[in-house]
Symmetry: C2
Subunit: 601 residues, 2 copies
């Protein structure tokens, strides 16, 4: 059985070997050893209908926001980045990651954050000499690539296993908010130069387009038609809505005569701003002083990608998806260094993992089964309910690859012209839908809804009922505060420091939150974002959170004296609780908790 | 106890007395004798919070569509009818019906159908001599008033008790469709004279306004906040949304500079087209020939109102509302003759019962209680559900009267100016919400949804499961055919014949449908629109439908010989089935069914 191989290469840590950062390349090597045996099946499994529908869905979900971000960047970087750059960067990322990555489910492309980053840097450079911008961006990329590789070599991605819903929900809410804001800004651009008719028509198209996609995607959850028809409408929500509303916005008559503003296109295959060496940027002309200025900024890019890319990879492999093939965070981050480097040299925005879109790809590849759940009441009546069960994920590389080829195809003249018929306002609609996808159903929003729900109508089985409401409010407030701070900072030139805030969420959750909330509260309010063993193996296995560890220590110090000593001695303990099973490795971050190490898986 | 009085004045029919049409004035007299004792309580019960919220809600729901229809009429009748006519007519109807009617719950005002009627007549007159129009409309009203009175005197409204969901759902779906069409047409007017910016802004405002009202009204059905807060948001959905979006559409900046087109207002208190005798139309100048042409048209108006007004009254007193005070269809139809006459003389559109709005008034006056329903499953788990129970309807005249006074107030200059700040597009939003209210949840739509629902997810307790799907489809097809024919004819000059189609639905349901469907099928697919005894008493009590009668006859001819003879002799039978209880009186309509009469209540 291809799926029954062993994922756990790293269960033999003793002495200094416990410290994975002291074993360079170990994570990457194990990632390859784990995933490579599946490479052939990654291709074989791709000859599947699910692959086809996922390719189409991801093409739309990936490319339309990328174009929108690109327009935004174009507007804010003096026209340096354009459509061709966005397409090229997306295609490059898709080819590299579909063919070489350990986890081809994680879609890599242009994010809103890199676009924010790029024009924040532009604004900073503009204060000095704007002509330095292209070469400066190459050096930012070079430094960033180097720090990417270091991160991968020293297994620093391990730290991502501590990511819980606390930070991933906060980040998802932040990204969703940014998407909605971008959608509104994009609509506002439609009104520039007194083109009010265009602006208002754009608002109409954006609203109707997003409602169409939203309700088509919701079809799967209804009980209308047969399961196959529901799946069809949901799978092709984007193409259906796009074809319809693009047609609508060119309809002869008042709408046609409005000549709605479409996506601007330039010469195929060439950079937006012509350069002497076609795509290559003349990075060697940058003054040495500036090369060093690029270092800290490159590190910030790495920090951003560290969080953003790995989180999108984690959410693409979230606990709700029944994944069978192993992940490889270290190897993928190493690859990301390469795409950053290549993108830098040829003047593209650096691609990385797409937070709201990553789980969409896995979702598109998941075979859901609609089951009938019969509830027998005490009165002898039967109530039926629909239950959607994720049966299987078609884990393969083909959909990612095909999507990449489609993007390359889009760079050719005929398809580029077709792209030029899409109204800009439609991109706002994409922002609304994709952004809303991160907001609706987000744990933070669910907790807020719980707080305002009338108590007598809450299901008695809801575990939140065992916690005081003000404790839930406090927990949510921490998240909302971070969210609000992130949104606010994104609107300023300080946006460049934003990765520090989001990355700081991980140690904050790990060390400070358990001081405020009890273990029981955290077990109900929070959970690891990914719990699947095949996913966490790459990061050193499932961690034990601080609050659980302390409880364990208390419990053991009460019952036995030898137990804590044995645990503190750093040797392997055979007698963990089930929760302890997956192991924990303390790597010195926050040594104040006094515990050195426990179980090693 | 004021509510315990006897409603059944007419249980003593014997011989010729069985024929109520042979007892002129009997219906009206009994209506008064039944309702008059409640007059004082109708005022006392009005000093209630529910009255206040219902007044506000009805003011918006009544006046905004009336204005929109008026604009439509204004556009299509060469400017003869204007805002002042709409307000005056609504106020006249509200004052007369709130103070004098037997059923003050039924809101009377300007409907889309009368506006359709008025401009269809205008188009016909225009073929000859358009200057005759005002005087001609007076004569139509005079003839119509006379036929109204005849209808009331000879108790012809009795026939309305046979109205079942079959025809009332078809009509509601038709009216809902017309409302939506009007909403779209109204938005299209925003684009006239190349005012495209205004047009598109109008579309935006209309969509957002209708979504706001729709979701605010839905608040009541959620489990968010406390019951009082939910009720508040739902009760004041219209005022909240109207104030917000009127403000929005005048917001300084791009929107403000667009100067969205608002409701056109004219001089307060005066007719839109100045006339020699202020409001009075010079009807005495009409050539005698035309007076007689007005007769058949007046009769068509009466037929329209016969169906439209009585149906709106029936739906305002539908089975789901726990009404305690008696209705009075004959007396109210007599009053309607008077308002038609008065409106005709002073050149107003004739008011009558508003189909989509009538149940809104009762709904606004109903005190709902949110109850927790606990379902205990066999596994010992408890699932809680919210159940909304209609506890009590505040039946009184005060809300109707206050609404009328508000409408009069609106005719004064300051309020009229305020009205002039409402964008025309907002009226489209009102059309969408009110029209959608007749479509969503309509029995026809519910059956269609049932037909496309995947069978395994249908609740086993659903009675429709006992009928073949193609039988349900056939039943719905009859309704959809009538609906489509009505919608189509409304777009043509033949619209004037439309009342014949809808009124024909009653005998069609009574005589032809039972030949196609079995009693069991009809009992599941159809039901009387109003089943409450206090409502049906005015119409001669609850009828036995043909399909039930025939089954009864068959059953009795099988079991006993004397029973059918006794029934056919026309004497009272003591031994009805429970369904027979409410009695049946055959008044010769459709004598082909061979049965002369059965039980007399």
């Amino acid at each position: 059985m291809i799926y029954s191989r062993d994922y756990s290469w790293e269960t033999d840590g003793r002495g200094w070997r416990r410290h994975r950062e002291l074993q360079p390349f170990r994570g990457m090597v194990h990632d390859i050893r784990r995933r490579l045996p599946y490479y052939w099946s990654d291709i074989q499994d791709g000859f599947n209908y699910k692959t086809f529908s996922a390719t189409i869905r991801m093409y739309f979900v990936n490319i339309l926001p990328a174009l929108a971000f690109q327009l935004d960047m174009n507007h804010n970087t003096g026209g340096f980045y354009g459509i061709n750059e966005a397409l090229f960067s997306s295609a490059l990322a898709a080819l590299v990651f579909s063919l070489l990555s350990a986890q081809p489910l994680t879609i890599v492309g242009i994010t809103g954050l890199i676009s924010l980053f790029n024009y924040t840097i532009y604004n900073i450079i503009k204060l000095h000499d704007v002509s330095l911008y292209p070469a400066f961006m190459v050096w930012v990329g070079i430094w960033s690539a180097i720090t990417h590789w270091m991160t991968a070599i020293f297994n620093w991605c391990d730290y991502m296993r501590y990511v819980t819903d606390y930070s991933s929900n906060t980040f998802a809410l932040y990204v969703g908010t940014i998407y909605i804001i971008k959608g509104v800004q994009e609509l506002a651009i439609g009104f520039y130069d007194e083109k009010h008719t265009n602006g208002f028509l754009g608002v109409v198209v954006a609203i109707l387009y997003s409602l169409t996609v939203y309700y088509l995607e919701k079809m799967r959850t209804t009980i209308l038609f047969r399961a196959a028809a529901r799946d069809f409408l949901s799978d092709y929500a984007y193409p259906i809505a796009t074809v319809f509303w693009v047609g609508f916005s060119h309809f002869p008559g008042i709408i046609g005569r409005t000549h709605i503003e479409c996506i601007p296109i330039t010469k195929s295959w060439y950079p937006t701003v012509p350069r002497p060496y076609v795509w290559l940027v003349e990075f060697w002309h940058l003054p040495v002083k500036w090369i060093f200025v690029a270092l800290p900024i490159g590190m910030l890019v790495t920090l951003l990608f560290y969080y953003d890319h790995n989180l999108s990879s984690l959410t693409a492999q979230e606990k709700k998806y029944p994944l069978k093939k192993p992940a490889g965070f270290h190897w993928d981050f190493f690859l990301l260094g390469w795409t950053t480097m290549i993108a830098a040299f040829i003047g593209l925005p650096y691609p990385n993992g797409l937070v709201p879109q990553a789980p969409v790809h896995t979702d598109a590849l998941t075979t859901y089964e609609d089951q009938v759940e019969e509830i027998r009441t005490n009165d002898g009546e039967i109530i039926v309910q629909k239950k959607i069960v994720a049966k299987h994920v078609t884990e393969q590389r083909v959909s990612h690859l095909l999507m990449g080829l489609l993007v390359i195809g889009t760079m050719s003249r005929p398809l580029l012209v077709m792209l030029g018929t899409i109204p800009r306002a439609l991109l706002s609609g994409v922002f609304f839908v994709v952004g809303w996808g991160s907001i609706e159903g987000n744990g933070i929003i669910n907790n807020l809804i719980y707080l305002i729900t009338e108590e007598r109508f809450i299901q008695p089985s809801n575990p939140l009922l065992t916690i005081q409401k003000r404790r839930i409010l406090l927990f949510v407030s921490f998240q909302l505060f971070t969210w609000a701070a992130s949104v606010a900072i994104s609107q300023t030139i300080a946006a460049i420091g934003f990765p520090v805030i989001v990355t700081a969420l991980i140690p904050f959750r790990l060390h400070s939150i358990p001081k405020i909330f009890s273990r029981r509260e955290l077990e109900i309010l929070d959970d690891l974002t990914a719990t699947n063993e095949v996913v966490l193996a790459s990061l050193g296995g499932k961690p034990v959170m601080k609050e659980a560890r302390e409880d364990l220590r208390e419990a053991s110090s009460e019952t036995s004296e030898s137990e804590p000593r044995k645990r503190e001695s750093g040797h392997e303990s055979e007698s963990g609780t089930p929760r302890d099973e997956a192991g924990l490795r303390n790597r010195g971050i926050g040594g104040h908790d006094g515990e050195k190490s426990t179980v090693d898986v």
